[in-house]
Amino acid sequence: MPDNNNTGEEQSPDPDREQIPLMQRVLDNPFLLLVLGIAMPTVLYIIWGIIEITQIPIAD
């Protein structure tokens, strides 16, 4: 179990931290994933779909 106590000590930047690949940083960010997971279907399914429906001519 990692130590949960934050001692507040000044720590030098962890060199490993710099090397975390971009994709892993994306996958480690739940809120970025949340935005992506809502934006994709909202744009590609709902908004695009509603635009298609609104372009259907109204019958006389």
Partner: protein, 564 residues
């Protein structure tokens, strides 16, 4: 800060169990099982009615039962259980306290109230609009209100899950990335937020329409947005049950995913593309372009299918790797032959994986192809498909993990262990039969949601092929078998929760066996091997079945729709 919360240490896994989270997991799981029993009962009555020789219910009761069945099992059972999974995968697996337990209880109360309200109003008989409640059919206002309350409660549950992720990260209760099972639950929670938002967008105006405050709801707009909720709600299930597969593989075998990165990328495919499969319900709508249909159901959906195929290989692959590491290396399948088939958690999980892939997965791709969708659109093939995904896949996986959670979370020994051992087989084979025979009848043209396939009182008579009647009879027989499996599950779970031997704080359950290596479920890490010849062979069989079935349907289309 993190040491201030009330927790116990699990003697089996060594995990810290936040007691607040534990109570919420129990409450959600109990509610889920109660609604599974109610919805399952209605499902049996529907199947017996669609069995032409039995034709159990009159028409009005049939549509009432179908509405209640759809709502209770497609939404209520599944989402209550998923709330339990979210709390387990966040607070328990991350060794964290749960964020806002009071909010979680408020969410639970809303979900329970909403589920009860909608059930009562459906049973009153004036809201037999089926789960989809397509406008201009109008249900009683409380029907929509109940679903909205249920959805708001579930949204609060998702918020608690995200809050717990924040707390766990801030309080450093885990190192590095979150465990894969938690990542799977995160995927489910993300899809849930989109699902619930879509439901709010369409059901709130529909509720206002039902009380006279809104004059008109466009049926095509309703159908489009409703399916963003209706189909995506089943994608929450897919993400959640895949997470459960990984959890069971880890807890029964100590299995690690073959590659964390690959499995996470597969979940990312779900996050980005899985909800777009909703469009397959719109494939015969004339007002929407083929570009929209084909992009959503083919190009995008295939990326999500790629994710499923990755999980379909890596879950059994991780089990094979763990078994081979234990010395079960003879031939291709010693690891599988000597797997604990008497452990209902493993048996249920493995059958869930196989049935989800072969029945629900392949048929989903076939239905998502615009051209061959024409063969079976709105036929019984559609419920055949989703009984393969949601029941044989999700429900069986959720049942399987219950056999681990009852001893570990409820702290009770399982009762009737022999019944528990057989239950996944009875339920799984029953549901597989339901799915296959409904898909068979659908391929022969039998309409879904129809009370009488003989069209006895129709002005223009129509006869389905006699094979379709055989299919519906077999569907009824397998529905009885599945119902028996469902009763066995409820009896074992309820019996264990109320009458099982109480386990002391430091006592390990005897059955099913959960080894000390089960702690792998809460750690990041890969098996980092590809020596999985048995899994590779099984995947090969899957691909052959996939290709053959896909092209058989194209051949069938060419026969019923000659173009020359």
């Amino acid at each position: 800060m993190s040491k201030l919360f009330d927790y116990r240490t699990c003697p089996t896994t060594g995990l810290r169990v936040d007691r607040a989270a534990e109570k919420l997991i129990k409450a959600n799981a109990v509610a889920a099982v109660v609604f599974l029993a109610i919805g399952g009962f209605f499902g049996l009555t529907v199947a017996l009615t669609r069995w032409p020789a039995v034709h159990f219910l009159p028409a009005d009761w049939f549509y009432l039962a179908l509405t209640a069945h759809g709502f209770d099992v497609l939404l209520v059972w599944i989402i209550f259980f998923e709330m339990a999974v979210l709390y387990f995968a966040s607070a328990i697996l991350l060794n964290s306290r749960l964020a806002g337990p009071k909010w979680a209880w408020a969410g639970f109360a809303l979900m329970l109230s909403g589920a009860l309200i909608t059930n009562v109003v459906v049973l009153q008989g004036q809201s037999s609009v089926m789960f989809t409640s397509y406008v201009p059919m109008m249900a009683e206002p409380p029907f929509y209100l109940g679903i909205i309350l249920f959805a708001v409660g579930a949204l609060i549950g998702c918020g608690v899950f995200f809050g717990t992720l924040v707390i766990a990260k801030r309080e450093k209760t885990y190192e590095g990335s979150i465990p894969l099972v938690t990542f799977g639950a995160l995927t489910a929670a993300i899809i849930a937020v989109f699902t619930i938002a879509s439901g709010a967008i369409i059901l709130i105006p529909t509720f206002l329409w039902s009380i006279g405050l809104v004059g008109h709801i466009d049926p095509l707009v309703y159908k489009t947005i409703w399916w963003a909720m209706g189909h995506s709600s089943q994608q929450i299930n897919v993400a959640a049950h895949v997470a459960v597969w990984y959890a069971i593989a880890a807890m029964v075998f100590g299995a690690k995913p073959l590659s964390e990165k690959v499995s996470r990328m597969a979940f990312l495919m779900y996050i980005l593309f899985l909800q777009l499969a909703s469009a397959h319900h719109m494939l015969v709508e004339p007002g929407i372009s083929s570009e929209w249909k084909i992009f959503n159901t083919s190009y995008a959906m295939y990326l999500a299918v790629l994710g499923s195929m990755v999980h379909g290989m890596t879950v059994p692959g991780s089990i094979e790797a763990a078994q081979r590491a234990r010395g079960l290396t003879k031939g291709m399948f010693e690891w599988l032959r000597k797997a604990p088939w008497g452990n209902p958690a493993f048996a249920g999980m493995f059958m869930s994986l196989v049935f989800f892939g072969f029945i629900g997965g392949i048929s989903g791709v076939v239905m998502g192809t615009e051209q061959i969708n024409l063969i079976m659109h709105n036929t019984l093939y559609v419920p055949g498909h989703f009984h393969g995904t949601v029941v044989a896949g999700t429900t069986l996986a959720f049942m399987a993990i219950t056999y681990i959670l009852v001893p570990l979370i409820f702290r009770r020994e399982l009762v009737m262990k022999k019944v528990a051992r057989w239950q996944p087989y009875v339920f799984g084979i029953g549901v597989a039969g339901i799915s296959i025979f409904m898909m068979g009848a659908g391929t022969l043209g039998v309409a879904r949601r129809h009370w009488d396939m003989t069209f006895a009182d129709a002005v223009l008579p129509f006869d389905y092929p006699s094979a379709a009647y055989l299919m519906m009879g077999l569907n009824g027989i397998f529905a009885i078998m599945a119902a028996l499996g469902g009763v066995m599950y409820v009896v074992v779970v309820v019996g264990s929760v109320f009458f099982g031997k109480k386990l002391a704080e430091d006592e390990k359950p005897e059955y099913p066996e959960v080894p000390p290596e089960s702690a792998a479920v809460s750690h990041y890490g890969s098996a980092e091997t590809l020596k999985i010849p048995g899994t590779a062979f099984l995947v090969g069989i899957f691909f052959v079945a996939f290709v053959l079935y896909y092209f058989v349907n194209w051949k069938y289309l060419s026969e019923i729709w000659p173009l020359s």
